[in-house]
Subunit: 450 residues, 2 copies
């Protein structure tokens, strides 16, 4: 029997992280060098290395007997906890009935895109998950390339909005940003909000990395600046290191009453509700407690130490530009100054660069530019600095907090040897590439294109 | 700010169970009679009353630390366990790579409908979840009303298929059936499969109630009869009484290799994967064990005892026809012979009948015909016989298994007094209705229409 597949399904591409995943799995099993049994230096996966907070684990354990269906928007305890969490950490008064819980922020963003009519504005580079959703839903969309500072330019946003015919436009703002690790400060948000108000742009503000902001006092939610037009999404996946639990939430703008009814229909039609035991576990993650406070502080401090090391290591490679992360566990590295050398080595796309880095002897996994919604020929890459044993490093940090710069470098070398080695490999790769290009001796090239 | 909502979202109706839920909540809080603090006799909710099997709870407890994202199609242990489960209980050889795990069967059916091109054939009465999905996805669809026996007529199916232009047609088969409780036997499935082969009809066989079949030896999966064209969905929600866990699976036809790739894209685009701790818990639910065997046997025996009592109680009301359930915890009661009496009492639709039954003094919640995709004026209703304390009844059954008919009736009276009282209320309601209609004294009507 031959099955006929709907056209829009055929048209969407496999999300790039899955492609990469498959590629890495195949590579790993195929490498013929016995000394390479360590696999690869992992800068590719956007997953926090820390264990799920004990508080959350214990709440899950205590609620394993909750087999009944939960209410569609989420259990009341959880919506209340999220409301208080928003008050405590983000200084926002969000009534629990403005909060909807879903099986991950990803699905909630998908649901918002299902419900909201209009053209999507996607600033680039971008997290690799938005575009397949937009394409699958056959929505009109426009990229909004960021400027050299890798942030949205309000005047570019205005220009683009003026060109769009749709009476509703939807800006996907990801703050703090994946892949750049950058944070939009209050002033920058205000400038963006001014354009949004003027041009009637609805904002989906994906703030899943909010609590990872290294100097947390600097984080401001877009919903504080532009409450009438902003949907905020957040969840357990990044700040709580529980991506596998699958729990996110969305905050609706205060006056979107009718929209909430519509949204509830979507959730009821597609998935009923989030897993009940998981919802009870999440309550513990959003309730204010000393344990969670410590967890946020320790993990963000470690992310910052790893991020600074990574930033300096990459910036010290001549020709590499990197964003200096304010949050998350990523930065964006720009290798475009090597474009002529890469072309000489027949590396013409960012995908090929990723492939050249993953093979022997470099064994280094990065997420290349086209996965970040950049041009295929843009040699930028997301570097996730998370390849270490999170439980152990958390403990080591608690026992002996590094203070000086020298102590922090020592901390990284001791606790994240694979991060250090992988960054060395990237330096080696580009060093050899430049050397080869200088001698222009292609036949003896030490960079082998698979 | 005014938000513009996509038209297909506006067009779908709230799934009827949610409407009912809201109605019941409002009713409960509004009832002015202090003696009514018990709320209502619940025949409306399709939820197993039993506790989640200890084996599953313990597996969840043991895996609370699993915070990492799972593989998109499901963790290998779970796909293996589901494969063996299908071998053991359904005598089917299903390679694990034909199995995809999702956050509930509902979402997997939605995903199948997203991916499969073609016109949907929906036999009625039907579970209230399919139609909002079909409408939201703007799919072409046709109802296929069942005959007097409440089963699909193969010749009606053929006639309908011949009228449809689409080269691919999708039949939603729900076996055992919600709302009727009926099971299609092998011969009936073969006759349906013959039409499907002849007319190139793809089948989504929703077999979520398979393990509740009272005489389990009689259950046959459609995938055994029509392996080349059947997608089977099943999960933890009904047989394992863990609807709140949100875990289902779909089995793909053997040769649908390309389709699996497409499906994986959808899952990755919409929700990444099912909650990792929940997947580990589910392994214990699908692995073959004496505990699960006993659980299936005890719970289906209790469902059968409750079902037989309910069937006889309803059938003994003059003018009521009821399906005699072979599985599930539902039956379909047909009150259409009361149509003239109902009309006299200004009860013109099944929704109004539900409302008349829920108010004082009847306090009885049923799911009316239009929620089951029947005509609004069809006075049929789904009766779910689950309003009892499942944990206690399970224990009582183990301690003293009723054998004779008299013992079984005694068992129901002792263990499910609300089921007994609710059925008495339904008898009262129709008794009064007929009496009022005979005297035709509308002003003194004892049936009050709210």
């Amino acid at each position: 029997m031959k099955f006929v597949v709907d056209q829009q399904v055929e048209d969407i591409e496999m999300p790039e992280n899955l492609k990469l995943n498959t590629f890495l799995q195949e590579f790993h099993s195929d490498c013929p060098h016995p000394e390479c049994n360590f696999g690869f230096y992992g800068f590719a996966f956007g997953q926090s290395p820390f264990p799920v907070p004990k508080l959350i684990q214990n709440a899950l354990i205590k609620n394993a007997d909750k087999g009944a269906y939960a209410a569609v928007p989420g259990i009341p305890e959880l919506r209340n906890a999220i409301s208080k969490y928003n008050k405590h950490y983000f200084d926002m008064d969000i009534a629990p009935n403005r909060i909807y819980v879903g099986p991950g922020t990803k699905e909630l963003i998908f649901n918002l895109l299902e419900i909201l009519h209009g053209t999507v504005i996607l600033p680039t580079p971008a997290w690799l998950g938005y575009l397949p959703q937009i394409r699958f839903l056959k929505k009109n969309y426009h990229m909004l390339p960021t400027r050299a500072n890798k942030k949205i330019s309000p005047s570019d946003l205005r220009k683009l909005a003026l060109r769009l015919q749709d009476r509703q436009k939807i800006l996907i703002l990801n703050n703090p940003n994946n892949p750049t690790g950058l944070l939009y400060d209050r002033l920058e948000l205000e400038e963006i909000a001014d354009v949004c108000k003027e041009q009637n742009i609805t904002v989906i503000s994906d703030e899943i990395y909010a609590l990872t902001t290294y100097d947390f006092s600097k984080f401001v939610s877009m919903a504080k600046i532009y409450p009438e037009g902003t949907f905020v999404t957040n969840g357990l996946s990044k700040s709580h290191a529980a991506g596998g639990y699958r729990l996110g939430y969305v905050i609706f703008p205060q006056h979107a009453v009718d929209l909430k009814t519509q949204f509830k229909k979507i959730l009821a039609t597609e998935y009923t509700a989030v897993s009940t035991p998981i919802q009870h576990a999440a309550v513990a993650g959003f309730e204010i407690s000393n344990e969670m406070n410590e967890y946020f502080e320790v993990t963000r401090n470690i992310h910052q130490i790893m991020g600074e090391y990574t930033f300096h290591a990459l910036s010290s490679i001549e020709g590499v530009k990197a964003t200096k992360p304010d949050a998350t566990f990523y930065l964006l590295a720009d290798f475009n100054s090597f474009a002529p050398d890469l072309q000489k080595a027949h590396i013409l796309t960012s995908q090929k660069l990723s492939e050249a880095l993953i093979v022997h002897p470099f064994h280094t996994a990065i997420v290349g530019g086209d996965s970040l919604v950049l041009e295929r020929t843009d040699f930028s890459a997301r570097i996730a600095y998370v390849d270490y044993d999170g439980a152990m490093v958390y403990q080591n940090y608690l026992e002996n907090k590094p203070k000086s710069n020298a102590e922090k470098i020592e901390f990284v070398k001791k606790n994240a040897p694979k991060v250090v080695a992988g960054l060395d490999m990237i330096a080696d790769f580009f060093g050899k590439l430049r050397k080869d290009a200088l001698y222009d001796t292609e036949s003896s090239s030490s960079v082998v294109v698979p």
